[in-house]
């Protein structure tokens, strides 16, 4: 190799494509297998060699999942939509407000408070679930959707991400010009900042929605045993017990995964970009 070329300018070889295709197959395989099992009857689980082609039992399986007693799968889906939507909207609103203040406004204590945000970025909140549970209990929220939602309403990451984006995306001159025209801070947020940060809102929104939808531990602690679980808790109910049918379990899993595949299909480019840009900035 004596050609002076950067990797970005080197065309992928046959081996590059082969390896990447293998990885793609590895990534997609569990989803395909989920589909095969959820469309078949229970014997498909134990075939050797494995069943390769989907069957035609999907509707039967789904009907069973949705009518099973003690699982509350449809309530779970509704609750997941509620929890993920409320959390996403709150994150976008609160984090963009704070991000805007940190990026473009001057106030006493700004730097110290921002350092605080950065320091708390990596704190593993999961380790505080015991105390959090006691807290939500004292507030009388245990076993409610509100208790599931409350801890996710804001994240330090969201504020940090928004701040970084707004610093670059909203020119100071624009903020200043609006101010000279007598615009209030609220007005500047609405007419100058919001339109400029749509891409960042999309990325943070998608990431938040996916993460919230998939969250398991905290909803399990809060809603286990109730008749209004989230879809992930309902799925774990579906997979528990002495008599587990995998065609049921995986058709439930399929339904609970589908919304996120739609999210990936519609917003995949933004998510990819968001993750890649995040790498540069961190």
């Amino acid at each position: 190799m004596t050609i002076a070329r950067a990797p970005q300018d080197t065309p992928g070889s046959r081996w590059t494509y082969l390896f990447l295709l293998l990885m793609l197959a590895f990534s997609a395989f569990p989803l395909y297998w989920m589909f095969v099992i959820s469309t078949g009857d229970e014997s498909a689980v134990s075939k050797t060699p494995p069943q390769a082609i989907p069957g035609n039992q999907l509707l039967t399986n789904l009907r069973e999942v949705f009518t099973l007693q003690d699982v509350f799968f449809s309530a779970g889906l509704v609750n997941s939509v509620i929890v993920a939507t409320v959390t996403t909207v709150a994150q976008l609103f609160f984090c963009s407000l704070a991000g805007f203040a940190f990026a473009k406004l001057r106030f006493k204590g700004r730097n110290a408070l921002m350092v605080f945000v950065v320091l708390t970025l990596t704190i593993p909140n999961q380790l505080a679930v015991v105390a959090l549970y006691i807290l939500t209990g004292k507030l009388g929220l245990n076993g409610t959707l509100l208790a599931v939602i409350a801890p996710g309403l804001v994240t330090a990451f969201g504020v940090f991400y928004m701040r970084q984006f707004i610093v670059g995306a909203v020119p100071d001159e624009l903020v200043e010009a609006a101010r000279v025209d007598g615009a209030t801070v609220t007005r500047i947020y609405r007419s100058v900042v919001l339109p400029a940060i749509r891409p960042a809102l999309a990325v943070l929104g998608l990431l938040t929605f996916v993460a919230t939808w998939n969250d398991f531990q905290w909803p399990l602690i809060q809603l286990q045993g109730t008749d209004y679980p989230t879809s992930m808790v309902a799925l774990s109910d579906l997979a528990s017990g002495n008599y587990v049918l995998y065609r049921r379990v995986l058709s439930g899993a399929l339904v609970a995964t589908l919304p996120l595949l739609v999210v990936l299909f519609l917003g995949g480019r933004q998510i990819v970009r968001g993750i890649m840009e995040g790498a540069v900035k961190s």
Partner: protein
């Protein structure tokens, strides 16, 4: 994470109008006054929802956890609530279940983090070539990332079935498993750790690859051009140039996967035949610390002890994260 540390009073980039510093107007109308108040107060109004919610549901529980750890706090009998002194921590040191869980967590952590980050690096370097359909490859890398861990773990549970699982079927071609003598992926520590580590790797390789790719694309081209002239192979290029150049991101991913890996919960929970028992197998073969905390807190109803365990895990995570970050820093720093 820059531009926030020490900011000298000379604002160059982020200068905005400063109230009260301009030439003093002789008289202010109510409108100007209102605007001035707006400029002074609104920043605090804007950041307050974040700080109030974060202090209440983020920071306070973390600190309060430290208090709970020194108390007896039972969910079934609130009357027993009182100070426990160091009892919870003393119990922790003699608790075989805790050490077993810590051992499992570390084993699964090593089996998942090392291959995960290495493969992610290799995939990122391949994605960094000039490719057709590159958007599709990148989005494909995110398929596992958006898939709920609960859902994928349930699929892997079928894949790792002893008698008819695909894993054993595939391994039978390599002579590693047979119908007469199949690998029981739930029975032993090694087998169950490998199964769970596979799930973790599956989930995070693509995500980390995209993080690396983002950083790789900012490496200046001329660095490679100089190296290629010297006859460096692509493999050497990757380890000698690319990895050192993207070292901050490598450290970042090591920190992230250490923090995440040591709190592993969902995979070991759903992998169990008895999902909500949180025992991590019949003999705790793969019970992780996060699982044990859940079991102690919400199955044994002993929140005080669970809090003490959380604090122990917190310290362990802190130490290992720092050690890993330093180690990664030195590995990457061996250039030139």
């Amino acid at each position: 994470m820059s531009a926030t540390g020490s900011a000298p009073p000379a604002p160059t980039r982020e200068s905005t109008t400063e109230p009260g510093r301009g030439p003093r107007a002789p008289r202010l109308g109510w409108r100007d006054r209102a605007l001035r108040l707006d400029v002074r107060l609104m920043p605090y109004v804007l950041i307050s929802p974040f700080f109030l919610l974060f202090l209440a549901f983020g920071l306070f529980p973390l600190l309060f956890n430290g208090v709970v750890a020194f108390r007896t706090w039972r969910l079934d009998d609130p009357t027993l609530d009182g100070w426990a002194g160091l009892a919870n921590f003393r119990r922790l040191f003699g608790d075989d279940a805790f050490w077993n869980a810590l051992y499992n967590t570390s084993g699964i952590f090593i089996l998942s983090t090392v291959p995960q980050l290495l493969l992610a690096l290799i995939i990122a370097s391949l994605l960094n070539r000039r490719l057709r359909a590159q958007t599709w490859f990148r989005m494909g890398a995110l398929l596992p990332y958006v898939t709920p861990i609960v859902a994928s773990t349930l699929v892997f549970k079928v894949v790792f079935e002893r008698d008819h699982g695909i894993a054993n079927w595939a391994l039978s071609f390599l002579g590693l498993s047979s119908a007469a003598n199949p690998i029981d992926w739930h029975a032993t520590k090694t087998a169950s750790w490998i199964a769970i580590a596979t799930m973790v790797n599956w989930k995070w390789i693509g995500y980390n690859a995209l993080l690396y790719l983002g950083a790789m694309q900012t490496v200046p081209r001329d660095v490679y051009e100089a190296a290629a002239l010297d006859g460096a192979s692509q493999w050497r290029q990757l380890w000698r140039i690319t990895v050192p150049m993207i070292r901050p991101v490598v450290i970042f991913t090591v920190v992230l996967s250490t923090i995440g890996g040591l709190q592993l919960f969902t995979e070991p929970m759903l992998y169990d035949l008895n999902v909500q028992g949180a025992t991590g197998g019949s003999g705790g073969q793969w019970q992780t610390v996060a699982q044990l905390i859940y079991k102690v807190g919400w199955k044994d109803l002993n929140l005080g002890y669970a809090a003490a365990m959380s604090w122990a895990l917190f310290l362990i995570i802190l130490v290992i994260t720092l050690a890993n970050a330093l180690l990664t820093n030195r590995l990457g720093g061996g250039r030139k």
